[in-house]
Amino acid sequence: MQDKSLSYLLLVPAFLIVLATTLYPLAYSLVTSFREWDLTKQRRPGDFVGLDNFGYAFTEPGFQNSLWVTTIFVVTSVILTLVIAMSLALLLRRKGRMHTFTRVILILPFAMSPALIGVSYRFMFNPEFGVIAKGLGAVFPALEGTPWLASPDLAMAILVLTDVWHWAPYMTFMCLGGLASVPRETEEAARIDGASSLRIIFGIVLPQMKGVLLVIAVLKTIFALKMFDQVVTLTGGGPGTSTETLAFFIFNVGFKWYDMGYASALAWILTAIMMLISIWYVRMLLSERKMATA
């Protein structure tokens, strides 16, 4: 009993930190989302306005645009990250001379700050002096001088590219961890029976990786929903509003428009979306475990 009390006591500092840094701001923003708060006129949240801020979101074009942009970004970046991470993991599973070196190199993109990635890619795609823009122009002369970030579609593609470049290595390591638990004997037996490599991957490896891939997909979805840093430093949400993700839009509403009530409501809509995905993820995991133990 004494041990149990001590355990609870030791948890108190951590609990207090979480309370102060997460739960309190969350609760405060929830309260704010039901209030009018124009930061240019009042320092504290003002009148209670019920669901007005949430209702406004569904008539306000900026939110609808950012929701659409975020959907496109999340779907493409999650799918690409999964495919590339899994492919790299399958390649790296083979032990070779460059095995350790490759793994070390692979972690570098993930070690970089997202804001820095945005700035770097902005320079690299600059048609006047960017190394990627100039390189592509040298190999494909028709692309010389292409204003890569000036087209809405290309800007979105490059935003996705930077995000995949950032996250794919980390997800590759997760896939490698998953692959380590796939028994090699089954694959070898299939190979002896004449199965092709593709057949082995799609028929044996991937089905056994379902749980890991699900975790990766959900985590990557949540990370992608929060996409902010690279938008700020790479595209600024432009051209026009073509890369204005939801997180970026919420920041603008709060810190440019100074409409804190509306920004809080939008932040809670984003939180609700992420919570729904998380609940679905936990349920899927639990059902996987049940199937595994059945």
Binding site: T40, K41, P152, G236, T241, K256
Partner: protein, 434 residues
């Protein structure tokens, strides 16, 4: 501005500079002096300033002020892209800063951060008449003085003398001449005609566009405060601005996403022949650590006009204000008195070890030595400032600016092709602001 014109211009203003100097001496404008008896000895003034070499030059000269007053001044700097958030945090959460630097466009929306200082400044021998009206107006909120201009800008057209000469053209005076000169330069050299920002960042793509709007006889809002930028004049101005990129093709590739610094970089790297931008950029343009250009290659003139219309310039001002929560308002005002002393500004302008061009006092803008050092640039700025009224920014300006810059960006990138529709859409959005 051709060299000949620069000289004529310089001579023309030499006379008026002498007259103004004489007038200032006659009216008893005096340099700042510390309050007798060091009443604020031992107090500390915490300053939150945007990162700027001009402010660093002030900080480097603090010893004189600290010795004279006994006030300790501590500076913290924040880079420009993060400055507004820092000020917002300061306003909402309160903080330790007694004095803050605020850009003109943010002043109305941050008015809760600052407090009136009329009385305190009246005791500091600050000559408010020495500030151009376009700058000083941003130091007032609801008729009360809340801050004093310390950094202020006008726009100039910088150009490559060598490239213009190579192309056989004079420095342009109208936007039509800009197009003609740019095309001639592009024919004879590898450089793009003119570096312009069309991308989104703090309304930077509006700074040149707004001059075209004025030049076409339009304005942002009508007398009732309703959007007027979608008028025929506004549409013509916007089409002209965007066409420089899309039809005339005189701006560098990628300009659709250029922010101001990208345009400046393009000029500094020798990729563009002309650059309409704030005058403070001059110090970067021939800095060997940042630029491939030498001072001899760079000329400047006033911003081109639209046809025969008057020349205009957008202005930009940074004020220093005393925060509402300042612990020692009087000491902060004493510091502001020193900081806005024209003698301090002049010392920085003439410091051979520095490359600071920014001035917000007519007495320095018309100063012979200052103009001799900077090739008459300050005199040209003084002319522009004498005519410039500046514009008021409401507390919704940050959002309005974002809506407008998005419209320009959409048109430049091709995301939108109908100028009238894009401007009407922006006007509707602005009307919908709650």
């Amino acid at each position: 501005m051709s060299l000949q014109f620069q000289r004529e211009d310089y001579m023309k203003h030499l006379t008026s500079a002498l007259a103004i100097t004489a007038a200032l001496v006659g009216t008893g404008v005096s340099a700042w002096e510390a309050t007798e008896g060091k009443p604020y000895d031992g107090e500390t003034v915490h300053v939150l300033a945007v990162k700027s070499s001009q402010f660093e030059a002030h900080e480097a000269r603090l010893a004189e002020f600290e010795e004279a007053t006994g006030i300790d001044v501590i500076y913290d700097y924040v880079p420009f892209p993060n400055m507004k958030e820092a000020l917002t945090t300061e306003m909402v959460a309160g903080g330790d800063y007694d004095v803050v630097s605020i850009m003109d466009q943010w002043v109305p929306s941050l008015q809760m951060l600052v407090q009136p200082i009329d009385e305190e400044i009246a005791g500091q021998s600050v000559d408010l008449e020495d500030f151009p009206a376009a700058h000083l107006r941003h130091g007032r909120v609801n008729g009360e003085l809340v801050g004093l201009p310390v950094r202020g800008h006008v726009q100039l057209l910088f150009y490559r003398k060598d490239l213009l000469e190579q192309a056989g053209v004079e420095a342009p005076s109208t936007w039509d001449e800009v197009v003609a000169a740019a095309k001639a330069i592009q024919e004879k050299t590898d450089a793009a005609g003119i570096a312009l920002p069309y991308g989104k960042l703090n309304g930077q793509n509006l700074m040149v566009w707004i001059n075209l709007l004025w030049g076409h006889g339009g304005d942002l809002f009508d007398k009732n405060g309703e959007p007027a930028f979608n008028s025929e004049a506004g549409i013509a101005a916007t089409e002209q601005y965007v066409s420089l990129l899309t039809e005339e093709k005189i701006a560098p590739a990628g300009s659709a996403t250029f922010v101001e610094q990208d345009a400046v970089n393009s000029f500094k790297q020798g990729n563009s022949a002309m650059l309409p931008v704030w005058w403070w950029v001059r110090s970067q343009l021939s800095d060997p650590e940042q630029s491939k250009l030498t001072a001899d290659q760079i000329g400047f003139t006033s911003l081109p006009s639209v046809g025969d219309a008057d020349k205009t310039t957008f202005t930009n001002t940074w004020i220093f204000a005393v925060t509402e929560g300042a612990d020692n308002k009087a000491a902060a005002a004493e510091y502001l008195g020193w900081l806005t002393d024209p003698a301090l500004e002049r010392e920085v302008l003439l410091d051979e070890n520095l490359s600071e061009v920014v001035a917000v006092h007519f007495s320095n803008l018309r100063d012979d030595e200052v103009n001799a050092r900077w090739g008459g640039m300050h005199s040209a700025a003084a002319d522009a400032l004498a005519a410039a009224e500046g514009m008021d920014f409401g507390d919704n300006w940050p959002r309005i600016s974002e809506i407008l810059e998005t419209a320009i960006s959409s048109l430049a990138s091709g995301e939108e092709s109908d100028t009238a529709a894009a401007l009407n859409h922006a006007a509707e959005e602005i009307k919908r602001i709650r």
